[in-house]
Every structure is written in structure tokens, then in C-alpha cells.
């Protein structure tokens, strides 16, 4: 998703809404995204682990990775790349912090996915 042209920016939460060294789920257009407040910065990945669907937002963070709470499959925070396993990557999203708020870049919701034209 990162690098894709059609991103919209949404305000996800206030900085203090996510406890230090933890993650929380924000559901954007029905897609659960894990927003992480790591010691190395803010990151966002798809919440659903590619191994058995565990909630990555509840995982253990290091400076570079999150480990799924179910079976410890790890993903790189900055890219979503799978680390030491072959279950596949998760999508990553750009995050920016401004004026105490956290903003997330997510794919624009297509109009044909919304109300019928």
C-alpha cells in the first residue's frame, strides 16, 4: 500500500490514545489496521497475521518488529515484511504525527464500494 498514489489521510487518534510500546486496532472502511506506538516511532500494518489470523495490534513490539500474540510470527514494522517465517507479508501504511494527533494514509475508498450510483 505504501507508495500507492491513491491514499487519503485520516486522523486516527490522539497520540496519548495508544499506550507506549503497544498497538491498537483502527478499522478503516471495514479493514482492521494495527497502529503501533513503538519506541522507534509510529507504524501501521494490517492487523491480521498471515499465519493464523492473530491480532497483530496485541503483539509484542521491538524497535523493528511486532510479534503476533498467538504464535510469535514476526513482521517488520516499517514494511510489513515477514521475518523468519514464510507465511507472507502484511500491508503497511504511512503514519504521521502532527500537533499531538496521529494521521494514517489509507487507500481511498472507491465510490463503487459505497452507495450504489
Amino acid at each position: 500500500v505504501r507508495g500507492s498514489a491513491e491514499l487519503e489521510e485520516i486522523r486516527a487518534c490522539a497520540v496519548e490514545d495508544v499506550p507506549a510500546q503497544e498497538g491498537r486496532v483502527i478499522t478503516v472502511h471495514g479493514r482492521p489496521i494495527a497502529l503501533f506506538r513503538a519506541s522507534s516511532g509510529w507504524f501501521a500494518l494490517d492487523n491480521t497475521c498471515t499465519h493464523q489470523g492473530g491480532p497483530l495490534a496485541s503483539g509484542l513490539l521491538s524497535e523493528e518488529s511486532v510479534a503476533c500474540p498467538l504464535h510469535e510470527r514476526r513482521f517488520e514494522l516499517s514494511t510489513g515484511r515477514a521475518l523468519d517465517h514464510d507465511c507472507g507479508a502484511v500491508a503497511s501504511y504511512p503514519v504521521e504525527v502532527r500537533d499531538g494527533a496521529v494521521f494514517l494514509g489509507v487507500p481511498v475508498a472507491r465510490s463503487d464500494e459505497g452507495e450504489p450510483a
Partner: protein, 498 residues
């Protein structure tokens, strides 16, 4: 074969084995004969490659392996008569011994410089599922000559042992995981050792540490056990497996009100509400009105008991009373790994106390204290630590052992590994001596006074963070400032200490 002095005759068809009373030779088609005192009939080896073939692994005559014994599927190795290495399928044993050594190196990641169980597990994922093959991995490393005594690293990435880190924490007076991470780098790479470090920091500070929930597993952030679908299980404390109609009514009401998908009686003589949503946890706890059973934590889980002298006509010791006392005394304290206990009121041992981490069995004239038992993936009959005259003395000895384990156990090391590692004799010396035992019990009392004074489920009213039990909600609008769905906050966030 010629060089070995053996004449090989190919393409011969035997017509008859002849002799009078015993074999004298072979007659081939065409009439010529071969004299023989002994005839051995043998057929060749044809590898059974159907399974490998179906799995899409490259096969020729045998399963094709490279110089590291790897098949075309990276994570599968093949050795022996099924394997074809550089065009050869070996049918004799000497080259296969070599193959096994190479395969062991490959499995152990030796070519990647891996020499410890933890490194091998990280690369191969062996032992990271149910974990029951961990001892086998360790044994493989030993068999393959993987050096001498293996260090157990608390932080595998930085190769730091528990002892080294404990020294750093004591010397510098660190009181939080982040302080140790900053100073020593522990937990900064993969992060998986943070719960182990959190335990160590709390243990060394007698639980007067600065708690950082981000260093804990999700189970210890929300005091419930995460299930495969992301929901949680709720197990209230039910000491000694004894409950009341009132408790059962409240559990039943909560189960109905929150539409709990499964209510299960556990093997630990208590009740599990399975499938509870994270955001419902505080309300479920409030309605049940019972303290946490710590079924999600590395801590004392439960003390299973039989009926004992109250009702049983065979009972010779009051097992339920001792079990309840034991549970009250130990509950709420973290331990290196979970601790399951049992108390039986007679040697019939209905509470299975001899296969618990710590057990007590009433015998004529006293109580046998048993440690290091297990009846899970590993089955181990516990060792008798001592036989005490009174239940109080049994509890004292057992408490000293529990504290000794808290101070010396590796994180995730169950007592069934800990006891044989340290040795029963040494444990007896460290635990049963009057002065040493008293010191252990005093440190236990200190730790308990700080940690267990509070039921973690009281965080239903005083969450450590307003979003402790909630997510951030949903955004469905069309861009900035569309965060219309405010998340439901749990507890009374107004004025709560953040």
C-alpha cells in the same frame, strides 16, 4: 568390486540351485555352473518416492538432495536409501552415516553458525509450536557435537543470560524494562524476551519495580488468556476447587448476559468462560465479583484438592483446607513459568498431587511435599522434597521451594525441568535449612506484599490506560476528521491516573 577381489557376473539367469543335502552350486541357463558353499539371495533397493513426488519434491531414482542433504523443498532434508545425492542412491551404511551428520548440521543451522537451542528454534521454528520437541532439539545439538554445556540466553539476540542481566539490574538499580533495554540493548531486536525481562526486573525488585505493560504479553496486559480467534477466556479464582451456589449463580448470569460461547469445567477444578470479547472483560469481572484465577499468567494457577477428611471416609489429612491455604498464600505472584499444584488427603492421591509442580500428600503421621511433577507434554513423577509433620510445616517447606524457583528458574522453565537441572540434593540444602529457608520465605513475603495485595481484575475500575480494554474504533467517512465513531471507554476514565 573387482578391486576388492570380487567377481561380478551380470545378466545371468539361474536355472537351478543344486546339491545333495546341502548346496553345492548354481546352474545357469546355458549349462555352466558356479560352485558355492553358501548362496545368498538378495534384491536391490528401490526408493519409495511416491509421497515426495506427490508433494512436488524433485525426485529422480531417489529424492534428490543437495550437498547439505536438502531436498528441492528447502525445509525438508532426506538421508539414507531414499536419497539421491549427485546421481547416487547409496545402499550401504557408511556414506549414510556421513549423510546423517550433514543433515544434522543442516537442521541445526550449523552452516549458519547456530549453536544454541534458541538460535536453532528461531531459524527452523522447531520447538516453537507445542514445544514438546525442545528437549530433542537440545539433544540433537549435543549429539552433533554442538559444543559443551549450552548457555540459556534470556535475550537470544544479544546473547545475554539471566545471570548477567540480573547482575546488571542489581548493580545499577534498574527498576523498569526500558532502563535495561536502553543500557544493555536487551529486547530491542526481536522483542520476544521482553516478558522474560519484565519478570526478572520485577523479581529482583521484590515487585517494587516500575511496571511497563508494553513489555508484557497481551494476556498480562488485560489479565485474560487470548484464544485463537482473538477473544479471551475468563477463569475466576476458585481456591481448592471449592465453590458456592452464589458464585455459580453469578458465573451463570454473566455467561448469559455476555453471551459467552462456552462454559467449561477445567482440569484445574474451576470454571472457564471462553470466547469473551476484550472490551467485555471489565464488565464480566464486575458481574462475577470473584478475583482473578491468573489462568493466563506465569504464576500460581491453582491448587487442586480431593475432598479430604471433611467428607471422605478414607481421608487422613484435611486436603481442602491445606489447598485453600496454599492458594491464598501463593496466588498473585508471578513465577518463571506456570505453577500447578495439588493436595491429596491420603496416599490414594485423588488430586494427582505427585504429578504437579508442587504437591502435598497426607500420609500416616504427616504430609509428603512433592516437587517437579508434571502430567502434560512431559510426564514426570515429582520428587519428595521432605515429609513434614504438620500442614504448616509442609506449607513452609513448599513456600521456600517456590521462592527458590522464583529466584533461580529460567523464564518458561517449568519445575519438571528446573528440579532435575538443579538436583534434588542441592534443592534440599538450599530450601530445607532453617536459616536458608527462613530467608527465602522472607523474600517471598516481601514480594507478595507488593504484588498480590491487589487483584488485577480490579483494573476494571482503574485501568492503567483509558484504552486498556478498547480499540480505536472505526472510520468510515471520507477523510480527515471523520473519526466519528468514538471508541467506548472502559471504566471511569475521568480522573483516572494515566
Amino acid at each position: 568390486m573387482d578391486e576388492l577381489g570380487i567377481a561380478v557376473q551380470l545378466e545371468r539367469q539361474t536355472e537351478e540351485i543344486f546339491g545333495n543335502g546341502r548346496v553345492e552350486g548354481l546352474r545357469f541357463v546355458g549349462g555352466d555352473e558356479l560352485r558355492a558353499d553358501l548362496v545368498v539371495v538378495s534384491i536391490g533397493i528401490r526408493p519409495e518416492v511416491t509421497l515426495a513426488d506427490l508433494a512436488g519434491i524433485d525426485c529422480n531414482r531417489g529424492v534428490i538432495v543437495d550437498d547439505r542433504m536438502r531436498t528441492s523443498e528447502d525445509r525438508i532434508v532426506a538421508v539414507g536409501e531414499c536419497a539421491e545425492h549427485r546421481g547416487t542412491v547409496y545402499g550401504i551404511v557408511a556414506p549414510i552415516y556421513e549423510q546423517v551428520k550433514v543433515a544434522a548440521d543442516t537442521l541445526l543451522g550449523r552452516d549458519e553458525g547456530l549453536t544454541t537451542k534458541q538460535e536453532v528454534m528461531a531459524v527452523t521454528r522447531a520447538g516453537t509450536g507445542c514445544g514438546s520437541c525442545k528437549p530433542l532439539v537440545a539433544e540433537l545439538i549435543q549429539v552433533a557435537g554442538g559444543g559443551g554445556e549450552e548457555s540459556h540466553y534470556l535475550c537470544a539476540c544479544r546473547k545475554q543470560t539471566r545471570e548477567q542481566l540480573a547482575g546488571q539490574i542489581s548493580d545499577h538499580g534498574y527498576e523498569a524494562v526500558s532502563e535495561v533495554s536502553q543500557a544493555c540493548g536487551t529486547g530491542r531486536d526481536c522483542g520476544l524476551c521482553k516478558p522474560a525481562l519484565a519478570y526478572l526486573v520485577s523479581e529482583i525488585n521484590d515487585n517494587r519495580h516500575r511496571e511497563e505493560r508494553g513489555a508484557r504479553h497481551i494476556n498480562d496486559r488485560v489479565h485474560a488468556n487470548i484464544q485463537n480467534d482473538g477473544t479471551f477466556s475468563v477463569v475466576p479464582r476458585m481456591r481448592g476447587g471449592v465453590t458456592t451456589p452464589d458464585q455459580l449463580r453469578r458465573i451463570a448470569d454473566a455467561a448469559e448476559r455476555y453471551e459467552v460461547p462456552m462454559v467449561k469445567v477445567t482440569g484445574a477444578q474451576r470454571i472457564d468462560l471462553l470466547g469473551v470479547k476484550k472490551e467485555d472483560l471489565p464488565a464480566v469481572w464486575r458481574d462475577i465479583g470473584m478475583p482473578s484465577g491468573h489462568a493466563y499468567a506465569k504464576a500460581l494457577r491453582h491448587v487442586k484438592s480431593c475432598v479430604g477428611t471433611d467428607f471422605c471416609r478414607f481421608g487422613i489429612g484435611d486436603s481442602t483446607k491445606l489447598a485453600i491455604e496454599m492458594e491464598e498464600r501463593w496466588e498473585g505472584l508471578h513465577t518463571p513459568a506456570k505453577v500447578k499444584c495439588g493436595v491429596s488427603g491420603c496416599p490414594r492421591n485423588c488430586a494427582e498431587a505427585t504429578v504437579k509442580d508442587i504437591g502435598a500428600v497426607a500420609v500416616e503421621g504427616g504430609w509428603q511435599v512433592v516437587i517437579g511433577g508434571a502430567a502434560g507434554g512431559t510426564v514426570r513423577k515429582g520428587d519428595v522434597l521432605t515429609t513434614a509433620e504438620t500442614p504448616e510445616q509442609a506449607l513452609e517447606a513448599a513456600t521456600a521451594f517456590l521462592q527458590y524457583y522464583r529466584e533461580h528458574g529460567e523464564y518458561k522453565e517449568r519445575t519438571y525441568d528446573f528440579v532435575p537441572r538443579i538436583g534434588l540434593e542441592r534443592i534440599r540444602e538450599e530450601v530445607l535449612g532453617e536459616a536458608a529457608g527462613a530467608r527465602l520465605r522472607e523474600r517471598f513475603r516481601l514480594a507478595k506484599a507488593a504484588a498480590a495485595a491487589r487483584d488485577p481484575w480490579l483494573e476494571r475500575d482503574e485501568p492503567y490506560h483509558p484504552y486498556q480494554f478498547s480499540e480505536l474504533g472505526a472510520v468510515d467517512g471520507d477523510g480527515a476528521d471523520s473519526n466519528g465513531a468514538e471508541p467506548a471507554l472502559v471504566g471511569p476514565p475521568e480522573g483516572a491516573e494515566l
